[in-house]
Point group: C2
Chain length 336, copies 2
DNA sequence: TTGTAAGCGTTATCAA
DNA sequence: TTGATAACGCTTACAA
């Protein structure tokens, strides 16, 4: 803070009232007489006063800030439109509130820095997105401040009774697979996401369910990593092992894009030879030709809902449920 | 801060020293006896003490935080790999320091919120990336705390004598255009970026320079907006007006991608019929087929350098120059 | 409805 | 080298 910055004290002096009164006006307390409110507000405007955040935080024990933890490589975080939507949803929920969002992408800030940040009272709560099986330290971090997870943290972190928002991954995968069968496809493979992430395992489970229910072979599985390149590689692998494949359920759109390129290079027509379904309905799906049939998950709603749940927590209210599961929808375009 | 959180006071009591001494140890002051340092550190570990950030900020008048202002739509910010690289560079420079980065994407946080954030002492300085001609309020914001711009703020904001880092946009555009001419192309068009951004005007200027120097027609100009769709549209426009065009310099890779699609749809072979050069050398360039010839700008270096300059400023040192210009390189791939 | 005064957890200035 | 003690700018009982 540059010297000369106006303080509560100075506003109080200018308005001819006490510091406490100015504080009340600033915080919208109802028990201040209209004339005083007016005088104070005039002084605030005249001095161009803005409350000092650190002082406020210290006195009120509230930072009015929320951290978004992304235990992911920064390039990955930016490359996947899915994250963009989640962040968008979060900021939309936060916008009308006084809370600000602080993004902590793990590769950028080392974990001990993150820990100090949370433990140092910089934020009142945290949102975790994209956690992996190995992220043991997230368990510790999520104990420091109230935390809401994006995606079930039970599967990969063994964290029970946590607050989380998830999409119906299993249901979405089931719907996609069922659609492929309905299309008459029988030799259906899948490209999974990074298997240390719950979304990957859940989507694989959904595919497998339907395949075995239908009495079809459920072993045409190739593992990707949720990136475009990973998807292309996995598709190549799958094609090598199962050249007669006639449909593929790919665990996200980015990988589906990669798969599309591989299929094209291999001379397979989509959807004539091989039908393809992705997951996310992100920009990656709409921005490709042929248009990708995919499972829509409302990533922005997910972000919104996570923030909403955390705000409940911070307000001292117990959310109705510790878990919110969002629906998915199959969006038919050209690839299946 | 949850009640029960250990404070300096408690550490002092546990170590049998004064508060001041603990503070010295925490801040690595050299004039503390080794034994005392030891005792204090033991107490810190035992209590799991982490200094309270707000208290520190209040007392030291330093937030140890930097804001990254992005006056851009959030979707746009995430969609362009260029920003990812800039952020990466910034975080890399910040990583070994005690500073943390707070991202403020403008559509998410309304400006008055941003203003309060800066004026409230939440951060010690700011980095501005992707500013537009209309962003008058940035002028005000950049007066609140020490600020370093990414890109020359003179052109669009009329801000003189500011600190900024820029890439040699004119030089890059010149090199690209010269290369096209060297290739034997003569009817060379350009797709510009959003003309309210300095990078767009500078790149257009570079193209125009070379074209007129070579005595070629420099009127085949179509305006895009730096997005993939915008590039596709602009290319369509250009093609309609100048069907005989044999090369295009596109002001960024994302638009070049869009242009590539348009050209394909129009039955033009790239580079046989129309040669294409982009700008950025981002993921968007390498991740496309045919490989995009482009002008490489080191976006991560740009971020790194901006952060570096700001740190100088915050350390109270006057940077050697108020301006750092980074070089560009032409990267030859398949499209030209 | 308003004011007084005691913190909030640090840093920083003096003395010792 | 260490310790008191006064800020830092605000919130919040408690009085008035």
């Amino acid at each position: 803070m540059t010297p000369g910055t106006p303080t509560l004290e100075m506003v109080a002096a200018a308005a001819g009232v006490s510091r406490a009164t100015v504080s009340r006006v600033v915080n919208g307390s109802p028990k201040v007489s209209p004339q005083v409110v007016d005088a104070v507000n005039r002084a605030i405007v005249a001095l161009n006063y803005v409350p000092n955040r650190a002082a406020r935080t210290l006195a009120s024990r509230q930072a009015m800030a929320i951290a978004l933890l992304v235990p992911e490589d920064i390039g990955r975080f930016y490359a996947d439109p899915y994250f963009a939507s989640v962040v968008k949803g979060i900021t939309e929920r936060l916008e009308p509130t006084d809370y600000v969002l602080n993004l902590l992408v793990s590769s950028s800030d080392p974990r001990h820095k993150t820990r100090r940040y949370l433990a140092g009272g910089s934020v009142d709560g945290a949102l975790v997105v994209s956690h992996h099986a190995g992220d043991r330290d997230l368990i510790e971090l999520s104990d420091i401040v109230p935390t809401v997870f994006g995606g079930d943290p039970t599967t990969m972190l063994g964290l029970r009774d946590r607050f989380y928002v998830d999409v119906d991954n299993v249901g979405g995968a089931r719907a996609a697979t069922r659609h492929l069968i309905r299309l008459g496809r029988r030799r259906i493979g899948t490209v999974t996401g990074a298997m240390d992430m719950h979304a990957a395992t859940h989507r694989l489970a959904g595919w497998r369910d339907v395949m075995s229910e239908a009495g079809l072979d459920d072993t045409a599985v190739a593992h990707g990593d949720f990136t475009s390149y990973g998807g292309a590689d996995a598709m190549r692998d799958l094609l090598a092992r199962r050249p007669d494949i006639d449909a593929v359920f790919v665990a996200n759109d980015l990988m589906a894009r990669g798969a599309l390129i591989t299929l094209g290079a291999a001379g397979r027509r989509v959807p004539e030879d091989v039908a393809l379904i992705g997951f996310d309905d992100s920009f990656a799906a709409t921005n490709v030709s042929p248009g990708l049939t995919t499972v829509r998950q409302a990533a922005d709603t997910m972000g919104w809902s996570m923030a909403d749940m955390l705000l409940e927590l911070l307000a001292g209210r117990e959310p109705e449920t510790r878990t919110r599961i969002l629906p998915t929808t199959l969006v038919l375009r050209e690839t299946a």
